[in-house]
């Protein structure tokens, strides 16, 4: 317990600084002018995946801004479809022509040996300016192989218009609500406001695990030596209660994995009262929803928890312009550029000193504040699990076990056993320094 709260405070220390970001930004890393601008012309190849057309626009404007202060540097933005991104990256790396800068969510083991150690260039303290729990996922044996770009938080979105119409109150963020209270409320709203489904939930392993955390359980221990903390009976119980929630409150068959129902479409078209998703969807809510909505409070069973995720920037030792790439990454992850990137893409900046981002929309700002505050109160494992490389072996099994249990081809107990088995295999196969 002491251990837990200690590490949790450590985490809070990092995330909590976001609020004070505005102040800190002033005295934060003053962007020391990089080595006298090289007169040679360099084109940086930047490999990217985009979540919206807007993101391309934001990146190009940041490129322009950087090019103005760094004559001779120009950019070639290479956009690759997300589904094929890792495959393209592997080809380029294997071919000896890696990009100079790349965005990534997962530090796949096969590219790790090629990655630039940022600590070597920026110093050891540089990494401390980022949301700690997410930054930790890019640290490997005293090296910093990934620079945090943005952070995502999982959480619930509510159709406020429907709540108002039904005359049902949403509790304050501080007060929060348990699943029992939450499910009762959304059922009432669905009935009174004539909405087809009380709840939709993204059908992904990453969203499912939120419920596990909210039950106070997690896959791996937070600190080394790593071990699997799951207990089969308890996990089976969590799966069982999740499935009964899916049966009673979500569109029939949603969690079998083959349903035609798309949570995003259902919520955006006003056919669902609540949607379990995350901060990355704020932009589509702003542009797509024609009703009033809000984020949170995200319900809990025993523990209030979000899930930490996000994107990193990486560079390769074998890239053709390592030095200019590293200068650019430093610039892009510094508070000033972070604020612009986050505002334009409607993401949460990874840099704690980026200040309060004005998203230019009241609902968006409310949502980001709430989701960030929920990240802050989350237990440490909401970040350490996904940061653990052994999770690479577990995500697929979580998805396939839960969907199989939902379709009735295996029991919740079997699903629990499969997940634990995958977690143990993962740990055994992952070398932890």
């Amino acid at each position: 317990m002491t251990m837990r709260s200690l590490s949790r405070r450590e985490f809070l220390l990092g995330a909590g600084a976001t609020a004070a970001g505005g102040v800190l930004a002033a005295c934060g890393t003053t962007s020391t002018p990089t080595t006298p601008t090289t007169p040679t012309k360099t084109t940086l190849n930047v490999l990217w995946y985009v979540n919206s057309d807007q993101e391309t626009v934001v990146m190009k404007s940041l490129f322009n801004e950087y090019a103005k202060s760094h004559p001779g540097v120009s950019f070639n933005l290479q956009v690759v479809p997300y589904d094929n991104y890792n495959s393209k990256l592997a080809q380029l790396v294997a071919g000896g022509t890696p990009p100079d800068v790349a965005k990534t969510t997962a530090l796949r083991p096969e590219i790790q040996p090629f990655l630039v150690d940022f600590a070597q260039y920026y110093g050891k303290d540089w990494i401390n300016q980022f949301v700690k729990i997410f930054a930790a996922g890019g640290e490997l044996a005293n090296k910093v192989i990934a620079a945090p770009l943005d952070v995502t938080a999982t959480g619930i979105f509510l159709n406020k218009t429907a709540f108002d119409k039904a005359g049902v109150q949403i509790p304050s963020e501080n007060k929060g609500w348990t699943y029992t209270e939450f499910l009762g409320a959304i059922k009432e709203v669905a009935d009174k406001a004539q909405i087809r489904f009380p709840l939709v939930w993204d059908v992904t392993a990453g969203r499912w695990i939120t419920y596990l955390y909210q039950n106070g359980q997690h896959v791996f221990s937070e600190n080394p030596p790593y071990r699997v903390t799951l207990n089969q009976a308890q996990l089976a119980q969590v799966i069982q209660s999740f499935l009964s929630m899916a049966n009673n409150y979500m569109p029939k068959g949603l969690w079998t994995g083959s349903s035609s129902d798309n949570p995003e479409q259902l919520f955006l078209s006003g056919q669902a009262v609540a949607w379990m998703s995350g901060s990355w969807n704020v932009e589509s809510l702003v542009t797509g929803a024609n009703f009033e909505w809000q984020a949170g409070p995200t319900p809990y069973v025993t523990t209030r928890s979000s899930v930490v995720g996000g994107d990193y920037l990486i560079s390769f030792k074998t890239a053709h312009a390592v030095k200019p790439a590293i200068d650019f990454i430093k610039w892009l992850t510094a508070p000033q550029a972070q604020a612009k990137y986050a505002k334009g893409t409607m993401y949460i900046p990874a840099n704690l000193h980026a200040g309060k981002v004005n998203y230019g929309n009241a609902m968006a700002s409310q949502a980001m504040n709430v989701l960030q505050s929920e990240l802050k109160v989350s237990p440490l494992y909401a970040g350490t699990d996904s940061g653990n490389l052994a999770m690479q072996y577990v995500w697929d099994t979580i998805y396939s076990s839960i969907t199989q249990a939902a379709s009735g081809s295996i029991t919740p107990d079997q699903a629990a056993a499969d997940i634990i088995q995958a977690a143990q295999t993962g740990l055994a196969k992952t070398p932890h320094s």
Partner: protein, 310 residues
């Protein structure tokens, strides 16, 4: 003079014979070279690494990325991997059902649309449509049609006061749905091949059959079918290969679900290769098994179909 003529004739004969020998190789060379260099050679490398434990990037200067020779271990692992065995069994069942259905359905379409009639071009185009868009779009369109809660088909059933059918979210129905959509999606392509094939059947033969008073069915059985054999062989061989390689359509339609009920061989291979670290060699072993199965199947089909055509 005579001798000169003889020599010239002999030379001409020799040149001709030599040309006859060389000609087929020259004819085949462009295709063969391109395929060998750009496809077969990478495939051979893939097969080679099925005897190694390796990730998708290989770099012998970096210890973590150096492949380890494991002999037949990857192949031995296949036998003990229930996910592989089950996906292989599912894929085999899928082919056994869809190949004859595809052949029958596309043949019916071809017979229906081989002649000219008003709007035939448009009808053929509509039937060929699924081949004109990506299989992902085809899968998504059907996913929308077959949705349990909001799909058009269940909506129509509802209007007719019939209960909704769990097309995609029930394991057995989802397998049937994937089969039906797969047949639907490739029928137009094979129809085009069969329409082209039907043009090789001399009209005179139909006239003769007609004069002999043969009925439509008997003409079909004794004239059309035997003469269409080379084209039907294309349909059977290619649709078998397609069936064993089915992937994009299923991913878009059911994502392999419900649960794992529609996970076929290639989806399993991709998941192993790209989601699990250090498993590229194992995925290559699965691909090699697929290659061997298909080579044997195709050779058998060619032999069976070829003998009669000879």
């Amino acid at each position: 003079m005579d001798i000169g003529l003889e020599v010239r004739r002999a030379t001409a004969r020799a040149t001709r014979a030599w040309r006859q020998t060389v000609t087929p190789y020259v004819l085949v060379a462009p295709t063969l070279l391109l395929l060998l260099v750009f496809v077969a050679w990478p495939l051979v490398q893939g097969i080679y690494y099925s005897f190694f434990q390796t990730g998708i990037i290989i770099d012998r200067n970096i210890p973590e990325l150096t492949p380890h020779y494991v002999g037949a271990a990857n192949y031995l692992q296949l036998v003990r991997d229930p996910q592989f065995i089950q996906s292989l069994a599912r894929t085999t069942a899928f082919s056994v059902v869809t190949v004859p259905l595809t052949a029958a359905f596309s043949l019916s379409l071809a017979l229906l649309m081989k002649q000219r009639f008003w709007g035939v071009g448009l009808m053929r185009a509509i039937t060929y449509w699924p081949s004109m868009v990506s299989l992902i779009v085809v899968g998504i369109a059907w996913k929308w049609l077959l949705g349990y809660n909001s799909g058009l088909v269940n909506y129509v059933l509802n209007l007719l006061k019939l209960p909704p059918v769990p097309w995609l979210i029930n394991g057995h129905l989802a397998q049937l749905a994937v089969m039906a959509v797969a047949v639907w999606a490739q029928a137009g392509f094979f129809m085009v091949i069969l329409i082209a094939g039907l043009q090789t059947i001399p009209a005179e033969l139909y006239e003769v059959a007609h004069i002999d008073g043969a009925r439509a069915w008997s003409t079909f059985w004794h004239v059309t079918l035997p003469l269409l054999r080379p084209s039907l062989l294309i349909v059977v061989v290619l649709s078998s290969i397609n069936a064993f390689k089915i992937y994009e359509l299923v991913v878009a339609l059911t994502g392999g679900g419900p649960g794992l009920d529609t996970v076929f061989l290639v989806q399993n291979i991709y998941q192993v290769a790209f989601r699990q670290p250090q498993a590229a060699g194992y995925a290559a072993a699965q691909s090699t098994v697929l290659l061997v199965v298909l080579l044997l199947l195709t050779a058998a089909q060619l032999r069976l179909g070829g003998e009669a055509a000879e």
